[in-house]
Each structure stands twice: as C-alpha cells, then as structure tokens.
Symmetry: C2
Subunit: 409 residues, 2 copies
C-alpha cells in the first residue's frame, strides 16, 4: 500500500532564515525527531514515518524592507503518525510549531484517507435548501435584537416578528447561555411555536438555530434535549470547544438538524499576519470538514470587518467542489442591510446566506418589515432588477433604502 | 444579594478611537445589546444584566508613532449573564469582540462565585510534591527522545534510561497518538514497569504523564483506561479541545492523577501584539482555573522562545496566592541543559519543573547520565554551590558543562 500523507502549508516570516533548512527541520522534527544520525537499519524502519518537504516558495524581493521576507512552506505528514481526528492533525502540524517564530498555518490538505473519517455536514447547502424548500435564491437569516435579560414571552415576540418578515433562518445570539429566564427547552418550544404561527401567515418554512452551550461532555445530551423540544437547527461556538466536538456532534445520527458554526473567538486566531491560522482554513475548510452546515464569519461590509479577499477565500473553502464533504453555506455577518444585497450576491454568488440583525430590527416599519425588505432585495437582484426600481412597488424595501442607502461597491 | 461581576481586560490599539466610548460600547454591546434607547422600566429590569466599564487607561504619548496608541480597558460582566463554564465566559467577553479590530485579551478576573465552580488542580504544586515525596528542590522532568515509529520495547528502554537518571517526571511526546506500535494501555504498562525497575535502583518515585488523545467524548474513558493500566499522570493538549474539557477531566473524582497541560497550538494565540490572548492568561491563569497541575510553556532560554517577562507572568499566574485554586507547577520548556539550572532557579524560584529533552538525551554519557547531571545541577544550586565547583566531584555534571557550558544570564 502506498503511504498516505496529509499536507500543511505555512507562511513563515524571517529576514535571514535558510527556509529550505527550516522546512527540512519541520519535516523531521515534527515526525521522527531526528534523521541524519540514525543508523541505516533504523532509517528503513522510520522512512514511512518521516515527513517530507513538498515545496518551499520564497518571497524575497531585492528591495524587501525588514520584516517583508517570507516563505510559503508545504510539508507532508505521514497519516500513519496520527489518529483520524482534527486535534491529532493540528497538534502534529502546528502544535509546537505554532510557537516557533513568526509562522502562520495558512492551509491544510488532508489525505483522502484522513478525510474519509469525516462525514462532514449532514445537510450542507443542498440539504438546508431541501429542508426549507427554497432552491432559487440566497437564504435570509436574522438574529435577535437582544436576548439577555429577556423572558420567554419577549423572546417569542421577537422571534415572531422576525419570522413574519419571511426570513428563512433565525439564530440565537451566541452569548445566550442556559439561564432561568429562557432555559433551553422552554426557549425552543416558545420559538418553534412562534415559527409555526408565522408559517400560517407566510406559508414558508423556517429553521431556528438554538445556541448549544454548556459543559463539553454534556453537549450531545443538550443537543438532543433541544431537538426533542423541537429545535430544527443548532448554533455552536465551535472554537470554544475545538473542532472535534463539532465533528462528533455532526457525526451523531441522532443530531439530525443542521449546525451553524459561530466564529466566536476566531479573532484571536486569524487576523495576525505572523501568527495563528488563516480565516479560510479556520472558518472555511476546517468548519466544513468538521461538519458545519453553515459557517458565519465577519462580512467585509460592516464595522467588524474581514478583508474581502479573506472573505472570498472562506467562501471558496466552504464551497470547493474537490472536498468530499458536502459544501457548507457561507454566512458573511455584521453590518448587513438590504442595500448591500446586490453587493453580497455579486461577491458571493447564489449560495450565500444574507444574515442581518440591525438591518432587520432597525427598519422603521419594525422587524417584520425589515425581514420583508431583505426578501424583496433578494428577489430584486434575482429578477435582474435594481433595488431602486424594485423598491417602487415594494414599500418595505423602499423604506430600507431611504434608511440605509444602496451600496454598489 | 449584591450582583456579582467577572472582569476582562483588553489592550486595544487604535490611532484615533474614542476609547471611553469604545469601552461603553463593549460593556453594553456584549451584555444587554442596547441601553440609551430603552424605556425607563426596561432599564430597571435590565440593570443587573448590564456590563460596566471598570477602567480605561490610555497610552498616547505626544510623540506616539502611528500604531503606538493603545488603551487598556477593563469591563465587568454580570455573572448572571453566563453559565459557570470557561467557554461561556470567553464567548461572552471575547467571542465577537476578538474580531473587532486590534484587540488582545490580556487578563480576566472572574468573580469568586464564578471561580467557585472550578475545583482546579487536584494536586497542584504541593500535591505533586507529596506524590513524589520531594519537597526541598525543583523537580526534574524529561521527555522521550523520539516516539513515532518506535515499538513498545524501544519506548520502554528509552523510559528506563531516563528514569535511571533520577528524574521525577517523564512525559510522553504530545504528538504520540493512539497507534498500533504503542497503544495506550500497553504503553502505560511498559513504561510503568520500567518506572518500577528504575525505582529499585534510584529509590525514588516517578510520575509518567501519558498523552491523553482521541475523540472529545472519549477523553474521560481514555483517561480512565490509562489510569486503570497504571498511569500516574496525564499529558493533555488542552487548546486542541478547549479549557472546559480540561476542567471536566480535572473535576472527575475518578481521574485521580495529576494532569500536565501541553501548550500545543498556543503559538496561534499568544504571540501577536494586536490579537489573541496573553500567555499569562492562556497558559497561566486559565490552565490553573481549569485544573492543570503542571503547565508547560516555551522557556526564555531555547530556540522556541517566549520573552522572559511573559514567562514570569505565566509563572506568577500559576502560583498567585490570591486565586482559590491550588497553585500549579510552571514548566518552562525547550532548549534546557544542566548549565541553565542556576538561571532557571534564579528566574523562577523553587517551585519550578526543570524540563529537558535534548539536554538529557544529548549527554555524552547517555540519557541516564543526562538525568543525573540535571539532578546534580539542581542539588548544586540548592546547596549554594556554583555548578563548576559542584562538578568537580560530580562527573555527569562536569561532562554536561563541558558539552553545553554554563549560562549565567
């Protein structure tokens, strides 16, 4: 059998390093530990455990200022060295190495064998669309205006107003934890009853992503409690628990609802040029391999900003057709109003979730009107119309445009 | 009852921001969501959920260059807003906020109420000393030379040689996962039998920290399997699984052995000036609250370097007498040889674990001699002698000094 390798790519900044030597040091140091001093017989036995340098691409322009010289280094790690879980691969490829200078993990390319251990998203883009019966337009998600300190009745009313606007998805706030005012099961029951009430008006289905929280070893039980109470989606702060927790939740046949990955804490990991893990890997590829059906990340439009190139790289990783796991929905979030919908659909294409909070609740006609304005904006772009033209016959959109304007770039 | 608050402190870089306004925005935005527009009756109800600005300390010298202006901002979050687990507090205090500009989480000060949910280290400094019967000197830990691709016999022999040198603690490599050559229980049995064999020669006790790996929801079971097989310590890659996994392992009465926290992946989080989580919080305070009996981190002496000020801050957080959790052993790691022992003991004081790999195995007399050289170096400093003077009657130390020299600063 051919040995199988999983690759990791790093960007390493150093004004002087011999990057080729550094790459060899990684390939040996993070696998068999030492090589040149091994006796020949030992080398033969160790060969299949030895990492390999795949490529070293040095960026060192003649006029490089201090701090500008870097190399992109790709190392192949033998799959035989680690178990089929994300902690094992990340600890192998970036455990100790993360602390070794100015180095950022920019991508991984797990082997087919490694990937085969991950069923990935249960639903993915197509499955979420099937659940909703919506196949011809981007989805619209809204979030609660505020949740902390509110009781069940208030939360239900907020839910109902959003739902009446015709949004497809409503998610909990990621900072809503188990609490006496809106405990998990009662919250689910209240919100799902509002969903059914709204459905009678809108005639459309709705997924509610309940925030899955609590102690690690209770996550599966909590997920199942939420589902038993009627939840048809889960929101999960993946990075607070690690990718493996998501992978195991997604692989559990009893957790048969879509999971939306929240990027809480991601800003501790992706924004630095010199350290951490790239956004496309962290919020794109890893979230999808681990099984997120939707992945939220900061949009390039709002106040909490991720540069557009990084945004699109996250999107590409979530949709990349070469990965065996189902594609997951990109959900660029924060600062979204109806006037941005043409831009979002232009940047992200049709497989995107338009997610808004203030852009829904801040509508002068209320939250339901805010949801309708978003749906109208999506319909406008989908029908080839400008927002301005479409707004002439759609009042909520017209009001939204007066409130927030239309951004074309 | 007085409302109880847990605090978080951030360093926020911005050349122009109104830091006071920014702090208010955090205190409101990450708790009740909005405040000024609330009706008075709602304010009364929401007051106990509202975050408070504790302090804003602006660093803005007249001659500040671009990028140098920052503020240290402390916010108090009402405990009533989150459950008593580390994911809930981190997601509250740094979930979304981590993505909001150049901001680093530098410290937290959880309330007594929050802290009371965490039993912390089962053993801590004193408990680990009691297990070993060593109370009058720093402990010495050694790590395997190489583990991947080695079979049980080889691993046992490596273990035996280290143990014969008189080290107190031996830890697995953090990249040793479940594998056919050295599966968990057999590895524990082989190493513990080597420990008993060495004990008959050295007359001293030894703790073996087996690497706890695998899927999240199997961690407890794996820990108990290792313990049933005889393991008297566990090594855990905390950051690959999240702090809550550690907290729950440490709180489990059946996991009655010390846990050493490995810093794998920490370099993705602490080194950036502008993003992430400070080393003292990540590898110090949080590890201790969650229950690590020992915490490893990059020493300021080796090739994988953390600045000395950060090292000492990690140490202080692990030993800080004001925290209710037991103090945990600081384990500065990487690049340690016997000639560094005076420096380590000078920098860290008596409650430290001297941890070495190459400094043990690279000894010209072999690994056992390497261990003895470390023990002699510790004894030298403890007895007020210089290494050079002590080496005159201690051959292994003498050889180590010839090999690596003595570093005095």
């Amino acid at each position: 059998m051919q040995p199988s390798y999983s690759k990791a790519t790093y960007r390493l900044y150093d004004d002087k390093a011999d990057f080729h030597k550094k790459a060899e040091g990684i390939a040996v140091g993070l696998t068999v530990g030492s090589w040149t001093e091994l006796p020949e017989a030992a080398k033969e036995q160790m060969q299949k455990h030895l990492g390999k340098v795949v490529s070293v691409s040095i960026h060192d322009p003649l006029d490089a200022a201090p701090g500008e010289r870097y190399a992109d280094i790709t190392i192949a790690y033998p799959d035989v060295n680690f178990s089929r879980d994300i902690p094992a691969f990340l600890v192998t490829a970036f455990g100790k190495l993360s602390m070794d200078g100015k180095i950022k993990l920019t991508d991984i390319e797990p082997s087919a064998d490694f990937l085969s251990a991950f069923p990935g998203p249960k639903f993915g883009v197509q499955g979420v669309r099937d659940l909703l019966g919506v196949h011809d337009r981007p989805l619209v998600m809204s979030i609660f205006k505020s949740v902390i300190g509110h009781d069940l009745g208030n939360l239900r009313e907020q839910f109902l107003q959003q739902a009446l606007g015709g949004v497809d998805l409503i998610k909990d706030d990621e900072i809503l934890f188990e609490n006496p005012l809106t405990p998990l099961e009662q919250r689910v029951e209240a919100c799902m009853s509002a969903a059914r009430e709204a459905e009678r008006t809108t005639g459309q289905k709705l997924l509610y992503f309940t925030n899955l929280t609590g102690s690690t070893f209770q996550l599966k039980a909590n997920a199942k409690r939420a589902i038993a109470a009627g939840a048809n989606g889960l929101l999960f702060n993946v990075l607070a628990y690690g990718f493996d927790a998501l992978a195991e939740l997604a692989a559990d046949p009893d957790i048969n609802v879509p999971i939306a990955a929240h990027p809480a804490l991601a800003g501790a990991l992706y924004p630095s040029l010199h350290h951490g893990i790239s956004a496309s890997l962290l919020l794109g590829k890893l979230m999808r391999i681990a099984g997120a059906d939707l992945s939220l990340f900061p949009s390039p439009y709002g106040s909490v900003v991720m540069p557009k190139a990084e945004n699109l790289a996250v999107m590409e990783a979530l949709l990349d057709p070469t990965l065996p796991q189902k594609p997951a929905f990109p959900v660029p979030s924060a600062g979204i109003h109806p006037g941005l919908v043409p831009l979002i659909m232009g940047d992200f294409g049709p497989e995107v979730v338009v997610n808004a909070g203030g852009g829904v609740h801040g509508h002068p006609g209320g939250s339901a009107a805010g949801g309708r304005a978003f749906r109208q904006a999506v319909d406008a772009v989908n029908s080839g119309s400008t927002l301005e033209a479409y707004a002439q016959k759609h009042e909520e959109l017209s009001i939204a445009i007066q409130r927030w304007g239309v951004r074309t770039s």
